[in-house]
């Protein structure tokens, strides 16, 4: 049985922990708001980009002059996985969920006899995947120094991916990130970015306006400029969603931790009070029995 002093120390330390988790929760809440705003501000661009892309795809009609980034290499032997996770932990199952999805995917691909290459964005995913598939990881992109996520960050990653593609480094590229549904729900998602989904884009185009465009320069040329940019945009969106998701997950994880600490303090206080009472009773008995003996 712990002594009174031990219990007192224990309560004090749990209280200190509770203060920390509470503070972290509030920080995450503030950051979440900012991340959500950033994600919302970025939405018009990616939406319009999608519309423009759909229009052009329709104009070209999936003809022979579509760039390779869109049609793919025609093979699916080498897969590149871009796994986006957070840089920091303490956000519940957020990172491990993304990593698990990626790992399942990798296992399936390897079982099919495909080659797999990985680019890790964020430290946590790298740490998890390194254990099993360390030899497959090409690169690790570190965004820890980045305070506010800019388009330039996403663009740099996209450029690396495209460069690798042009060198014939891979055939299919899939992006892993967590979709931000709400503060309590983030859905790990796998999205294929190379080759871009031409079919879905074309279907959207027929639903949209059927204006006959003039193109300046040629549609093919615009498209070859647009597709790499679209990859950057997709990456940027994934990173923003991830940032918002991370903060959401962190907020609820820290909320849980604060509540757990509260429960623990209650339980410890009860034990502490009982024990103190027992000691007082014991002392009283000693005094009384001492007096009776006289």
């Amino acid at each position: 049985m712990a002594s009174l002093k031990d219990l007192r120390n224990r309560i004090a330390s749990v209280k200190a922990t509770q203060k920390i988790t509470k503070a972290m929760q509030m920080v995450a809440a503030a950051k979440l708001r900012r991340a959500q705003e950033a994600a919302e501000a970025a939405r018009p661009y990616s939406e319009r980009m999608g519309a423009v892309l759909a229009n052009i795809t329709q104009a070209i009609g999936g003809g022979g002059d579509a760039p390779a980034l869109m049609t793919g290499t025609g093979r699916d032997d080498v897969h590149l996985l871009v796994v986006c996770t957070a840089e920091r932990g303490l956000c519940g199952g957020f990172n491990s969920q993304i990593a698990r999805l990626a790992r399942d995917h990798i296992r399936k691909l390897l079982a099919d006899g495909k080659k797999v290459k990985i680019i890790c964005v964020g430290k946590k995913g790298f740490d998890i995947l390194r254990r099993d598939y360390g030899s497959l990881i090409l690169e690790r992109v570190d965004l820890r120094e980045v305070k506010t996520l800019g388009f330039a960050n996403a663009d740099a990653i996209a450029r690396k991916v495209i460069h690798l593609f042009n060198e014939g480094g891979f055939d299919i590229c899939t992006l892993f990130y967590s979709q931000f549904k709400s503060v309590i729900s983030q859905v790990p998602t796998a999205q294929q970015i190379i080759p871009a989904g031409v079919a879905s884009a074309a279907a959207e185009a027929t639903a949209g306006g059927n204006a006959v465009y003039e193109y300046e320069p040629e549609p093919g040329e615009i498209l070859s400029d647009l597709i790499p940019r679209n990859i950057s945009v997709q990456l940027f969106r994934a990173l923003l969603e991830n940032a918002a998701g991370e903060m959401g997950a962190k907020m609820s994880a820290m909320d849980n931790a604060t509540r757990n600490a509260g429960d623990m303090i209650n339980k410890l206080s009860i034990t502490y009070n009982r024990q103190r009472q027992a000691q007082i009773t014991k002392e009283l008995i000693e005094i009384i029995s001492g007096a009776e003996a006289l």
Partner: protein, 135 residues
């Protein structure tokens, strides 16, 4: 008074402008073009340059854009810029850094095609800088 139409300037980070304007001058890849209401549908890439828009109130606003796309319809015009800043807020140091980067790209280029592309981009940037410095 000219007819007004909807103009939107969007960068990946945010929506910069969304308002009714009378005319917009866009630095298209194949020359500057002025867009007014009822323009025929055109899609064009844009080069680094200055976008000038004239709002319904007759006010003129200028933005510097670094590459992107313009999607022009009779009912409106959307400009997807890779990055965009109001002329008043332009950061000289940032521009100088971009030029430096472009210069390095041009120097590093392995084949003729990428080199000519990089050099073209560099010359567009230096023209832009000259235009801004004189303004």
């Amino acid at each position: 008074m000219a007819e007004a139409f909807k103009f939107e300037l969007v960068s990946p980070e945010r929506l910069l402008v969304s308002e009714q304007v009378e005319s917009v001058v866009i630095p298209g890849a194949e020359g500057e073009m002025t867009v007014m209401a009822q323009h025929a549908p055109v899609m064009t890439t844009i080069k680094p340059g200055v976008v000038t828009l004239k709002t319904v109130g007759g006010k003129e606003e200028r933005y510097v854009v670094f590459g992107g796309f313009a999607d022009i319809l009779p009912s409106g015009c959307t400009l997807l810029a890779e990055s965009a800043v109001a002329v008043g807020d332009i950061d000289r140091a940032d521009l100088a850094r971009r030029i430096q980067e472009a210069r390095e790209d041009a120097a590093d280029a392995k084949d003729d095609e990428t080199r000519s592309k990089a050099e073209q981009f560099l010359s567009q940037l230096t023209t832009l800088e000259a235009a801004l410095l004189s303004a």
